[in-house]
Amino acid sequence: MSSARERVFANLHAAMQRGGFKVPETGTPLPLTLSRQERIDRLKTLMENMHTEVYVVKADDWLNVLKELLRQRSLNGLVYGPGTPLAAALEPSWENDLPPLIPYNEEIEQFKDRLFAIDAGITTTRGGIAETGALILWPDAREPRLLSLVPAVHIALLQADTIYNTFAEAMNSERWQEGMPTNALLISGPSKTADIELVLTFGVHGPKELIVLIVD
């Protein structure tokens, strides 16, 4: 008996023989070209509409804003990925009245118990998308995937210069097709559902809060 693969392809090739495929030109969607400020504003507005807290902060001030935000909440810890420029900024300046800084420095098999018990996580981002309002994340060995998913509060740092007009622009100008990471993510807000009577509620399985600091 032939394998499932062989049978499927035999069927497919037989179907192709029938021909009659008409393929129109693909064309392009209406373009979107915004100024730098417009991109920041649009991303901010759209993400705020989706219940994200967005702050536009100066490069020398973001750490203070972050600390202030953390002090306003009672959090049992802030988990982060060691080895990034973000980590290099956080580690030396951490203060005692802040929630303890916890490095994600083991594999999930060992770290799972702790990770599922920490209130907040912080990550960098690779960029943003103005058109739809979203962050781009490429988690990696230093900043694991679950940092932005398991803790109830996700804080993300976004460089204003990396906000693209559209998703297409982001992937084309960075040539994503030449090498995709293990996992690439777009995130547009805290997790949400409308599965009961279409009533929108935030904070289902992922973070209940998303806080974005746009460093301008």
Partner: protein, 477 residues
């Protein structure tokens, strides 16, 4: 071959139409989904341009389907994703079971996947003693009540908060009764967190699979999909073989169309692109990723130039939300996994016309579905084509299974009579005169009873238009 007894559409439809609660729940929800879609696609010109792009991308993908699937397999394999092929539902389910057994696992957590509904994966695995837990809130709700999805995007839309409140209170241990939606969500979050933590195998569907890079794309709002594809050590994704697209740049337009058409969102909370299992040095993500590619009749659908447009579908559910039949019946009455207009064109082709052909008749052909379809599938044309094929006994290489099942002598005779009546003037005059005289009594008996039992029977004029015109001295021209 069908796995279920023939669906009794008449009984199902009557039951659904008389269920006042269901009608209320559905009307409210569908009205809201339509308005949201309209708001997000307010710019008509932009939408039409986007739909043309979406249509072209999907047609291009289908025109190279075998080549793209080979490329996808090659790329995925290079990336470390293990690819499995399944011609039938049973083969697909067996692939899951083999992987689960190899890992001696018994706890499966699952993100939403309509293809896995198509293969009845949960039922199959549960019979083998494997615990399968749906984690999408809507899917979780219906699983608790041993139901199937009634909508391909919002699976529990037939239920309202009172019904869900009772369900949670009865089925989840130590759960107080509450009708507050936020509290119901919180209960689900708490219960499922433990399951994410302990899950051994994560299962997901696939919204788009990119051949160019071997990337699996998943669209979701809740985060349960990311949980299922990141926390457990093994991830198994399942897709219908039509889900492949050629290039990464094909993804953004389809994503816009999908989220906008489905729920009126610019973008979902998460767009999750998976290209490999955990690499050395990475601290989380599954160590194994498997991709199951299912045919289950799709390659046959590809053969017919008209019918193959069915495979362009990106499962957005807009055609359901805009369908006057679906919005009154809900999904369960259709009796098969895929309801509404897309279900009515897809199911008869997957299950055979002799089994599911009636679905092609569960439409008024109003055309709303084709008007909103983001990839421009001419749903009404396909419905009509399937209806024709139900009577077409001729065999051809692209014939749909069960074609000609409806052909019968009395209907043939009726249509022959109709033809005769309308082509021979003498017959025509006689029959219209007869109708004027006895027409009032006609529909109460015989096959027309079904129509008049719920509607006011038309009153036939005493004189036909033909007669009236003649009396006024109008000529025949």
């Amino acid at each position: 071959m069908t796995e279920q007894a023939l669906v009794d559409f008449r009984a199902n439809f009557a039951k659904a139409l008389n269920d006042k609660q269901l009608r209320r729940n559905l009307t409210k929800a569908m009205d809201s989904l339509r308005l949201k879609r309209k708001a997000v696609f307010a710019d008509k010109e932009a939408l039409e341009r986007l739909r043309s792009v979406g249509n072209a991308i999907r047609r291009r993908s289908l025109s190279k389907l075998p080549e793209l699937l080979e490329k996808l397999e090659k790329k995925c394999t290079e990336n470390g994703i293990q690819v499995h092929w399944a011609e039938t539902k049973a083969e697909a389910n067996q692939v899951f079971l083999d992987i689960i057994r190899r890992h001696q696992a018994s706890r499966v957590i699952k993100g939403k996947s309509m293809v896995s509904e198509e293969t009845h994966l949960n039922h199959f695995l549960e019979e083998q003693g494997v615990e399968v837990l749906e984690t999408d809130l809507g899917e979780y709700i219906i699983q608790l009540d041993h139901e199937t999805p009634s909508h391909i995007i919002v699976p529990a839309i037939h239920k309202n908060r009172d019904q869900i409140a009772h369900l949670f209170h009865e089925k989840i241990p130590d759960t107080p009764y509450t009708e507050v939606i936020e509290e119901l969500n919180a209960i689900a979050r708490k219960t499922l967190r433990q399951k994410f933590f302990a899950g051994e195998i994560g299962v997901s569907g696939v919204n788009f699979a990119v051949a160019e890079t071997g990337t699996l794309c998943l669209v979701e709002n809740e985060g349960n999909g990311r949980m299922c594809t990141t926390v457990p050590p093994v991830h198994i994704a399942i897709m219908g073989l039509e889900k492949v697209v050629e290039k990464l740049e094909d993804v953004p337009p389809l994503l816009r169309l999908l989220t906008g058409s489905a729920t009126g969102q610019m973008i979902t909370t998460y767009f999750n692109m998976i290209t490999s299992p955990r690499k050395p040095g990475e601290k989380d993500g599954p160590r194994e990723v498997h991709l199951v590619i299912l045919d289950n009749g799709r390659s046959n659908i590809l053969a017919d130039p008209e019918l193959r447009q069915t495979l362009q579908c990106i499962r957005c559910g807009a055609c359901l939300n805009h369908c006057p039949v679906y919005t009154r019946l809900g999904g369960h009455a259709y009796g098969y996994v895929y309801p509404g207009p897309i279900g009515s064109i897809l199911t008869p082709q997957l299950e055979g016309l002799q089994n599911a052909g009636t679905m092609a008749f569960a439409s008024t052909l109003c055309g709303a579905c084709a008007e909103v379809c983001p990839v421009k599938i001419p749903l009404t044309d396909i419905l009509r084509l399937l209806r024709n094929k139900s009577y077409d006994t001729q065999d051809s290489p692209t014939a749909v299974e069960g074609h000609g099942y409806k052909k019968n002598v009395s209907e043939d005779l009726a249509w022959k009579g109709w033809t005769a009546m309308n082509t021979h003037p003498a017959f025509n005059t006689l029959s219209t005169r007869m109708l004027g005289l006895i027409g009032v009594h006609l529909p109460r008996v015989g096959p027309l009873k079904g129509w008049t039992s719920v509607r006011t029977a038309p009153k036939f004029a005493k004189k036909s238009l033909h007669q009236l015109a003649k009396e006024r001295g109008l000529s025949d021209e």
